[in-house]
């Protein structure tokens, strides 16, 4: 209960919390605290603050260091570079869609648009695979890149339910499945998931994606390039 004494004692609570009161003052204040829940609560709260004081170094109470003036602009420039790189990468992966739009009304059948772009530099070109015959509004594409360890997969998905877990696998010529990892699709995320599988691209017959309760498979037919597309021009 708040009493008239409070005003008298209140301003000693800080010194008390720091252990700075004389024995007499302390005894007097503690007698007051016995009967005053409000002051007790205040003391407790101040004592919590007091326990933090030893963590600070009073030599460091001067003005805090400020970042260099141009740091903000440098950060924006870095992010701008990242954005451009991402868009460039995105376009490399997505250009197949321009050819796929009209054919997407079919139900389950899957048609792969395989495109050779040259490059790759490891004996076999990277391959762009578009999943077609997908539900309306859904887009899926993959770029497969051969490596000594197996195959690197850049997977692009959009339009499915946000949060959907996608499990990607490659199927070998002999039908064996090789897992390539998982990712979660989020709305608004137009980045590629970068995955890898131990299966050599030269032995890869198909790529599959389990997304929710559906599985989408696109054949990777390296000898049957349906359409030739000239490699995208680099951004200037």
């Amino acid at each position: 209960m708040k009493t008239e004494n409070c005003r008298e004692w209140r301003e000693s609570l800080g010194a008390y919390a720091l252990g700075h009161l004389s024995a007499d003052e302390q005894a007097g204040l503690e007698a007051h605290l016995e009967g005053c829940a409000e002051c007790r609560a205040e003391v407790q709260s101040l004592q919590q603050v007091a326990t933090l004081l030893p963590h600070a170094d009073p030599e460091r109470f001067g003005p805090s260091p400020q970042p260099p003036k141009d740091l903000g602009e440098r950060i924006l420039a870095t992010l701008d570079g990242e954005r451009r790189e991402q868009r460039r990468h995105q376009r490399r992966l997505r250009f197949g869609f321009a050819f796929g739009g009209a054919a997407t009304a079919l139900a389950v059948a899957v048609l792969a648009l395989v495109v050779f772009t040259g490059g790759g530099g490891e004996g076999e070109p990277e391959q762009h695979v578009e999943f077609s015959s997908l539900p309306a509004g859904v887009e899926m594409a993959a770029m497969l890149e051969p490596h000594a360890y197996g195959t690197e997969i850049h997977m692009y998905v959009s339009g499915i339910r946000s949060g959907t877990l996608c499990r990607v696998f490659l199927r070998a010529d002999d039908g064996a499945r090789y897992p390539a990892g998982t990712f979660r699709y989020r709305w608004g995320d137009d980045s590629n998931a970068i995955l890898s599988s131990a299966l050599d691209l030269s032995r890869t017959a198909a790529i599959g994606v389990h997304a929710g309760d559906k599985t989408f498979i696109a054949p990777v037919d390296r000898s049957a390039a349906a359409i030739q597309i000239r490699p995208e021009e680099e951004e200037t």
Partner: protein
């Protein structure tokens, strides 16, 4: 990607204006190196931008999120640095840096002390950190001893408010 917190350049500018000073202050405090601290702040914004959509304002403030990222960046930079242990003046290996959470706590309390009023900070420094008698401090400041006492009280209260504003949770 980055459709969330920092997707637009304006968001990055706003976040930078609001938080870069504090982030940099903490980075300097924990890394003790202005160059590394710049690197840490830059890396923090890059990671935040990349992971923008993972920011959920219902879980915590942008500031708290940026500090969490910075904390990881500082750990990474600290690790990278510890690969090349510095040799102290005696020729021995310098003791390991204080644990990061302690550095974060120290920085928070120091930053809070910087933000309270000069009068309040002064009496806390004199009576607590320098352990000087209240009477002596009162004389030096030309005020009654009771005033020193009440400034200690209001100073601690102010510190509590600032720490709360900074998101300190015990």
């Amino acid at each position: 990607m980055a459709a969330g917190a920092l997707s637009r350049e304006r968001d990055v500018r706003d976040a930078y204006a609001a938080h870069a000073g504090e982030l940099y202050g903490f980075a300097v405090r924990s890394l003790d190196d202005a160059g590394l601290a710049e690197e840490a702040v830059q890396e923090t914004f890059v990671r935040a931008w990349r992971a923008g959509e993972r920011f959920d304002p219902e879980i915590g403030s942008l500031r708290t999120w940026l500090f969490a990222i910075l904390r990881n960046v500082v750990i990474d930079l600290g690790r990278a640095r510890s690969v090349r242990p510095r040799v102290g003046p005696e020729g021995g290996i310098e003791p390991s840096v204080e644990p990061l959470d302690e550095a974060l706590l120290s920085w928070q309390v120091e930053e809070a002390m910087r933000r309270i009023g000069d009068d309040h900070r002064r009496v806390i420094v004199e009576t607590y950190y320098r352990a000087r008698p209240y009477a002596e401090v009162a004389e030096e400041l030309g005020v009654p001893e009771g005033t020193v006492k009440s400034r200690v009280y209001y100073g601690l209260r102010a510190l509590r408010v600032v720490l709360e504003e900074m998101g300190y949770e015990d």
